[in-house]
Amino acid sequence: MKVSKEEIRHIAKLANLKLKEEEEDTYILHLQDILNYANIVNNANVDDLEEAIGVQDKYNVFRKDEIINFEDRESLLQNAPDKENGMFKIPKVL
């Protein structure tokens, strides 16, 4: 399993990560190592098996769509890195 520089950059972009040059090199090696190992799954005989969704398959949990207000606005905003007038602040988008 070979992973190219372009591939790792593409993946990093998808993951919203910016990697340094040396990080790219290390992650390529680690990714190759892990993927080579993970290839074992392709030896498993699973032809007639379905994919598991999770632990408990095939059920849905339904509930009424009700609004529950969270009153403590201050405690939500206290973690914001930047805010103004009770709102989260980000750089100009448009």
Binding site: I34, Y37, A38, G54, V55
Partner: protein, 489 residues
């Protein structure tokens, strides 16, 4: 009497008989923390002052004859990935270094209702990704049996704190072995409940289809007690199951006559340390003496399960960790001109190496072109793993394996080789893949004096059977009476 040596059920007895007060207990633990924490480094945040206040309140209630909960006034430690209102929840990450949750995790709420007192938040691998607690952004926790060794992970702070008697018991979380493996490395008991038995609401998500919260304790009875407190359906976690409420302590019968134990031969292959194997087989002989029926069996998915685990866990993690963007909470970069820069730079600067590695692996296996070969295939293997366990449980009550292939390794020994670190999870991950309950109990030590853990795996929601099997062996082996951590330097 040395208070910190007592188990939770012993502390309760003393409280009931008025031989001890909550303040005396809490004070004893704080003194112990002041003495040993500098060697062990188990805590990220201490809440000892608040704890003493609460202890005083509970003592006053008791003195006035007011009704208090059965275990009111006993302290606990909480892994730092469970949300605690008003107290930092860092996930051992720079990303959440200053994060204060606006709400409590359901398990924390339940402990509050039981009037259990938190002594603080315990160290872990960043976002619970790791097997040694070395990937914490803040500090490296040491193994109380030998301070040059890792405590295991990712709940290494919880296991080390219980082993070092800095807390009477603790909460951990287990995605691929993160309760059981550190419990084994630190010579304590660790229980991963069936997926869906304990609410995950307020547990910072790593891999949602695998994560489960559970007890790390001095003995099996304490695990049953803590499970009683935290188990139960929660409408805030749709994967939590509505099952009948049980008193797990009632299951501890100290009797395994006729219990059918399966021993999968694949878990005793060449990757398993010889001494670990020998000690596990000694315990198997003990089970036979106690009247259990032991048989070799085959669960031929260990290698597949580990590969499947890293594909599924990283895929889910890459999605779950997408929420950390530097906008509403968490770390925000100083270097930005536009919104994209905030996302990219905050994430790149805020996450540690292992977290980024797993996000990249997870993004890779989910990306177009690789989805079918890895993720889809892994989900099919997951079905295979579940099927093999289901077949085994037609014949056996519990499955017995080592908890980890080796004892605790040296600090720094594996931190630069991710694959080698991942192999430490080979015995524990199949349990998460299938969603089964598993427990690790200490059975002996190796020649260097490092603890060895034995893992028992049960069928879905059969924690009672599992706890009784573990309890009966524990009573016969008496590990705690024979071995103690020495804080070797």
């Amino acid at each position: 009497m040395n208070i910190t040596e007592l188990t939770v059920h012993e502390l309760k007895e003393k409280l009931d008989k008025k031989e001890l007060t909550s303040q005396e207990i809490t004070k004893a633990y704080i003194d112990r923390i002041n003495e040993k924490e500098k060697d062990v480094d188990a805590f990220i945040t201490l809440t000892t002052e608040e704890a003493m206040k609460q202890a005083k309140e509970i003592d006053e209630k008791r003195a006035k004859g007011e009704k208090v909960s059965s275990y009111a006034g006993i302290p606990i430690g909480i892994k730092d990935n469970m949300c605690t209102k008003g107290v930092k929840t860092t996930c051992a990450s720079k990303m959440l270094e200053n994060f204060i949750s606006p709400y409590n995790a359901t398990v924390v709420e339940k402990l509050n209702n039981e009037e259990i007192i938190s002594l603080g938040k315990l160290n872990m691998d960043e976002f619970a990704m790791g097997g040694s607690t070395e990937y914490s952004y803040f500090k490296k926790t040491k193994n109380p049996w030998n301070l040059n060794k890792v405590p295991g992970g990712s709940s290494g702070g919880s296991a080390a704190a219980v082993a070092a008697e800095l807390v009477p018991f603790a909460l951990g979380s287990d995605t691929g072995g993160s309760i059981r493996q550190p419990a084994a490395f630190c010579g304590v008991v660790g229980l991963k409940p069936t997926y869906g038995l304990v609410s995950r609401y307020g547990l910072v998500a790593f891999a949602s289809s695998l994560d489960q919260i559970g007890p790390i304790t001095k003995d099996v009875e304490d695990s049953a007690i803590l499970l009683n407190m935290i188990a139960g359906h929660d409408s805030k976690d749709t994967t939590s199951q509505e099952i009948e409420r049980k008193d797990y302590t009632k299951a501890l019968k100290n009797d395994v006559k006729g219990l059918k134990i399966g021993i999968p031969k694949e878990y005793f292959g060449e990757g398993i340390n010889k001494e670990v194997k020998e000690k596990i087989f000694e315990a198997v002989e003990k089970y036979k003496e106690l009247g259990a029926i032991v048989e070799e069996c085959s669960i031929d998915v260990a290698d597949y399960a580990l590969a499947t685990y890293y594909i599924i866990a990283c895929a889910e993690a890459s999605s779950n960790l997408g929420r950390f963007d530097g906008i509403r909470y968490g770390y925000r970069t100083k270097e930005f001109e536009n919104l994209k820069d905030i996302y990219r730079n905050s994430r790149s600067e805020g996450f540690g190496q292992e977290v980024k590695r797993r996000i990249i692996l997870g993004t890779y296996v989910l990306s177009s072109g690789y989805y079918d070969a890895y993720y889809k295939k892994a989900q099919k293997v997951r079905t295979l793993v579940k099927k093999q366990f289901a077949d085994a449980f037609k014949k056996y009550d519990v499955i017995l394996t080592p908890t980890a292939p080796t004892v605790a390794f040296n600090l720094g020994e594996r931190s630069n080789n991710p694959l080698e670190m991942y192999l430490a999870d080979i015995c524990t991950v199949p349990v998460n893949i299938a969603g089964l309950p598993g427990i690790s109990i200490p059975i002996s030590v190796d020649k260097q004096g490092m603890p060895i853990g034995l893992q028992l795996i049960g069928n879905y929601f059969e924690e009672e059977k599992l706890l009784n099997a573990a309890y009966t062996l524990e009573q016969a082996i008496k590990f705690r009476e024979n071995y103690k951590p020495e804080f070797k330097k």
